[in-house]
Structures are given as C-alpha cells and as structure tokens.
Symmetry: C2
Subunit: 200 residues, 2 copies
C-alpha cells in the first residue's frame, strides 16, 4: 500500500500490453502502441518499465499467473473433496472454457522465448512444476492411488494435456476438434485407470 498509484499503473500497462498482444501478436506490439491504446506517452511506460525486456518479463509473469489462476478452481475443487471423480477432473482439464479466458497465441509466443532466455525458461519451469505438484498432492489424498507413483502419473497426465492443446490449436473443424478431444481425454482416463488400485 506504499505505492498504490505506481502499482495500478504497472498493472494497467501490462494488461494493455497483453490485450494488444492478443489482437496483433506479441512481436507487433510496441511501447508506442501500448501508450496510444492507454492514452499515455511512451515515456511513462518506460518510467515504470525501464527497458522493453523488463516489460516483456513482466508480461510473462502476468500470463503465467493467469495460467495458474485458470487451473486453480479445478485444483481447489479436488482439494476440498477427499475423492473427486477422475472423469469430472479430466473434463475440467480439457474444458474448452479457458480457451475463452486465455490466449494460447501469446502463451506460445512467450514460451518460444525460453530458448534464448534462461530466466524466462526457469519461470515456465517453475509454473509447470507447481501444477504437477498440485496434481500429485490431490492424487496422494485419494485412496485409490495409495502406494502408487503419483509423481509419475501426474507427469504423464500433464504431458498428454500439453500435447493435446498443441494439436487442438491447429484444428478449425469442430467435428475433428471434438473427436481429437475425446481421444486425448480417454488417453488420460486410461492412465488413471492403469494406476488405480483394483477394487473388487
């Protein structure tokens, strides 16, 4: 609460940056354009983010926070119940809902920066470690997976999820999209079933 104006401006700038990046792409969004979009001179943007690199770095933190926020409702739902139906869980993971809330184009643009920037790489790694850890905790709380390698299971589930979004992003045709979606879903169902303790 020390610098309230400062914090609000920073937030405003980053969100403006994000919005324009969704529309025109990260690489086509300049500081001048952000300024025009928000009705402020570029020099003000540079007052809060001294270089473009710092700006981008903050945009990435913002995006990764958003990404985490999208997962959170699913994770929290599973944390409250001691056992949640895997089907509903998988359905949430593959829900089309957060395609509306989150722009994959900007996400992959930022992802591609990990190959030349170790700090960004680390930030992406930490995000995914956190997600995997959350899932593992949930699985551990479930008796069906007692004594199983839930670390490995969580890892293998997320690999399918990421691969699925990679492929689904290429698909325009709704029927094809749904068919593929079901294929990837059942792939995760199978993983869960494979790991579950057999009840009689």
């Amino acid at each position: 609460m020390a610098n309230k104006i400062s914090d609000e401006r920073k937030k405003e700038i980053i969100e403006g940056f994000y919005q324009l990046s969704v529309q025109n792409g990260l690489e086509n969004t300049s500081i001048a354009k952000i300024g025009k979009h928000l009705g402020m001179p570029p020099s003000l943007i540079m007052h809060y983010f001294p270089t473009r690199e710092i700006l981008i770095s903050n945009l990435i933190s913002h995006i990764l926070d958003q990404y985490l926020m999208i997962y959170e409702p699913v994770i929290r739902e599973l944390e409250t119940k001691n056992y949640a139906d895997p089907n509903t869980f998988v359905d949430s993971l593959f829900s089309r809902d957060w395609n509306m809330l989150f722009d994959d184009g900007v996400f992959y643009s930022c992802y591609s920066l990990i190959f030349r920037n170790d700090r960004i790489k680390k930030e992406y790694r930490l995000l995914h470690d956190k997600l995997r850890e959350s899932l593992k905790d949930i699985l551990d709380r479930d008796d069906n997976f007692a004594g199983k390698d839930t670390d490995l299971l969580a890892e293998q589930i997320f690999v399918v999820v990421e691969g699925a979004y990679y492929y689904l992003s290429m698909i325009d045709d709704e029927n094809v999209y749904n068919r593929k979606l079901e294929a990837y879903k059942s792939q995760v169902y199978d993983l869960l079933r494979k790991y579950e303790v057999q009840h009689l």
Copy 2:
C-alpha cells in the same frame, strides 16, 4: 531447371534467415540483417520475396520440410521391415539426435503464428497429419496391430511425443531430463502394449 540462379538464391536467403533466427530469434531477424549476413543488398532479398510475410511463409515451409526430413529415416526404416521392434522405434522418436539438427526455438516461434495466420495454421496441420498417417501405415503393416484402431494409436503416440518435447525444452539439468525422457518413453511403450494383440 528453368531458373537455377533464382532457386539457389532463394534457398540461400531462406537458410540465412533460418541461421540468424536460431541465433537471435525470429522476431529479431530483419531483412537488412539477412542481407548483411549474406553480403547482398536488402533489395535483392525483396526481389525474390516481395514482402516480409512471404519471406516468413517460405521460412516456415523450409522448417517444416526439415522437420519432416528428420522423421523420414525412422519412418523409412520401419517401412522396409515388415515388423520393427517398437522399442527401437520409440527410442528413435525420442532420440536426442535431432535436437542438434533442428532448432526448437524457431519451430515454436513459427508455431505461435498459427493463431493469427490461417495459411500457416493449415501448413502445420498438414505436416502433422502426414506424420500421423505415416505412423498409422507402419502400424497397419504390423500383424500385432491387426484389426486395431491404429489411427487412434498413432494420434495418442504423437500427443505424448509433442507434450514430451514441450516439457523437455524447459529442462537444463541432465539427470532430470533423462528421468523425464524415460517416463515419456515408457508412456509410449505402454500405449503400444495396450494395443497389441495378445500372443500366447
């Protein structure tokens, strides 16, 4: 063979573009820089590629061709034999070799363009359709998968492969890398085993 000089120059320009993109990133590689790198004026580049958009489009075709070329030895090996050991096949798919031959950074940069360019999206889609189709053909030729949904199997294998490369690209630590690599490999082994006809 009509325009040999033209074709060679085009190839030279695209490869120069690719090399600089590997070093500095796609978004930091300008026409002027390519010209300087190859010792030719930017106007010559624009003579062969009238706009930057066309240049990028050709770079993407080049990259997707290369991507296909990396898969080809594996695919051809499996085509010649009537039955190839799934293990060696999976090993090849996950071989670290083509990380040396192919730059994932440029690949993902180009991939992120699919979200705002339908032609690029289609080109990526066709590439992956082709790869999946090749794998399906190979599986179909194998008696162990007779009567099985090899289309689905191929799809699910590639989802794991793509997801795997997505995650592995974030890992620097060699031990962690290898551990994850094995997890993803065994995930594909499991898929193959699940689909195989049971022999006694």
